[in-house]
Symmetry: C2
């Protein structure tokens, strides 16, 4: 019997006394000069630079974060050599005892969803490539259950998009149907979908809508939240704290650029960039702890 | 000035007198015995078998279809070596004059969506890897515009999921808001999003809901439809015909398993499997032509 994702997550967070997730979203132009390849670099050289950067990030944040969330898009942009590096980063993070949420936001049906779930949780040297994934619910339960089946079997987690952190999330997610909003309806579906898959289900709810986050925390009892939107997107740890339960558990706060590029946008990374990343991770973890204890 | 996707699509369809799109969804267990690798085959051997099969499919269907739609999930399932083969198949299809819709259903925001769009339409030897992509609208316009921007620049197309062919599409897409259904609201958004991006926008509407397809054809004036659900999913060409305009244009019908695995599920492929695929493609094209002329 495998240990469930919820249990593994709780254990990892307790070990580090941290509910912080660090997003790994490498962008070529923002890499420190010492590892940034020159103009005209091959996709392979760019991918290797992403790996070098990600390994430095993992080393710097390891004491302060329990989970990392590499964003697949930035690796897919480099084609299959980027996907190879994405895989290497997932394994390197797990080697350090960090859990890995693959930010994939896949959404498809039936045997296609099964194939995506297999891609996410496939066995690599005796363990699943990813500990959890993000998925998109537009197609309904046909797109979610195959992920839950595979995840349950392998101790994985499935975070379903519910109320996302971006401004245009209103266009569909905030429509009103029979007295409740689409994202509230989605929260009820997510909670229902999770039944029968103990320790597996999660939901993505942005910190940029603190009122919605508090309401959804109540509505999504027993569902792990993944909370983006802190830092570059404008929300603070106080906003994110609304997504936690009374024990300060049940959620992760994700921060990406604010931790991995903690210098002014558009300027070169300072020579001590590794230390700056470590400090940013420690401060984010401490800010979150304070926000949770001050509630 | 690049030629728009809508124009390139019309040209490809006129050249072959066909509005058929063939989905390429390889499954290991369904491959003909002569190319199926044995148990214990490496991911690389499996990926090579997918390439061999896909090349045979391309050769067989080339006279009868204008467009192919490889499904990314089945290749991602094999990790980065699968993604490499996905790329090779796209290029092989374009070499035969076929347009390629990458069935990716990606959905993310801002610079992440830009990275996905770059992944889809990136330059490979002087042309974009894909001619068009499928995308998911759950996050609203923040997730769509970056695709439209890149597509417009490079003559690409963007098919947004509207009313999908699967049974559980009802759970979100058929909810009623202020007198219209969510998928009707989505259709209006898609039409609005397409303005300013001439020749670029499309929508995915399943043939399994023929009434909705007819209503959405009217609502989605100027939007190219991609119509799945024919064959294995139960709809016929008569159902799909409701998605075409009066001139028999404005849409593509996709068929996957019905063309690429046209033998009884669970049985071995017959020795003349290449001819069987060719015949299935020709018959599907002819059935669609008849359905359009009989309206």
């Amino acid at each position: 019997m495998v240990t469930s994702y919820h249990r593994r997550l709780d254990q990892a967070c307790r070990e580090r006394n941290s509910r912080l997730c660090v997003g790994i979203d490498p962008r070529l132009a923002m890499l420190p000069a010492e590892i940034r390849p020159g103009p005209g670099a091959s996709l392979n050289e760019q991918a290797r630079a992403y790996l070098t950067f990600a390994e430095a990030v993992l080393e710097a944040i390891e004491p302060h974060a329990a989970v990392v969330k590499p964003q697949s898009a930035f690796f897919e942009q480099l084609g299959h050599v980027g996907v190879q590096v994405f895989e290497e980063i997932c394994l390197a993070a797990q080697d350090r005892g960090l859990l890995v949420i693959g930010d994939l936001k896949r959404g498809d049906i039936g045997s296609t969803a099964e194939a995506y779930a297999e891609a996410a949780f496939r066995d690599v040297g005796g363990r699943p490539l990813l500990d959890a994934v993000t998925v998109n619910p537009y197609l309904g339960s046909d797109g979610i259950r195959p992920f839950l089946e595979t995840a349950l079997e392998r101790g994985g987690g499935v975070y379903v998009l519910c109320k996302t952190s971006n401004p245009s999330s209103t266009e569909l997610q905030d429509l009103r149907i029979d007295g409740r909003l689409v994202h509230e309806h989605m929260a009820d579906l997510i909670r229902d979908w999770g039944e029968g898959y103990p320790g597996t289900i999660g939901a993505v709810v942005g910190a940029t809508h603190p009122d919605a986050l508090g309401r959804l925390r109540t509505r999504l009892a027993g569902v792990e939240l993944l909370i983006p939107g802190v830092g570059a997107q404008g929300a603070g740890m106080q906003d994110a704290a609304a997504g936690f339960d009374q024990q300060g558990a049940g959620a992760l706060v994700n921060s990406s650029r604010g931790i991995t590029f903690p210098w002014t946008t558009g300027t070169e990374a300072p020579p001590d960039w590794r230390d700056r990343i470590r400090t940013a991770a420690r401060e984010a973890r401490d800010d979150l702890r304070s926000a949770l204890s001050e509630r």
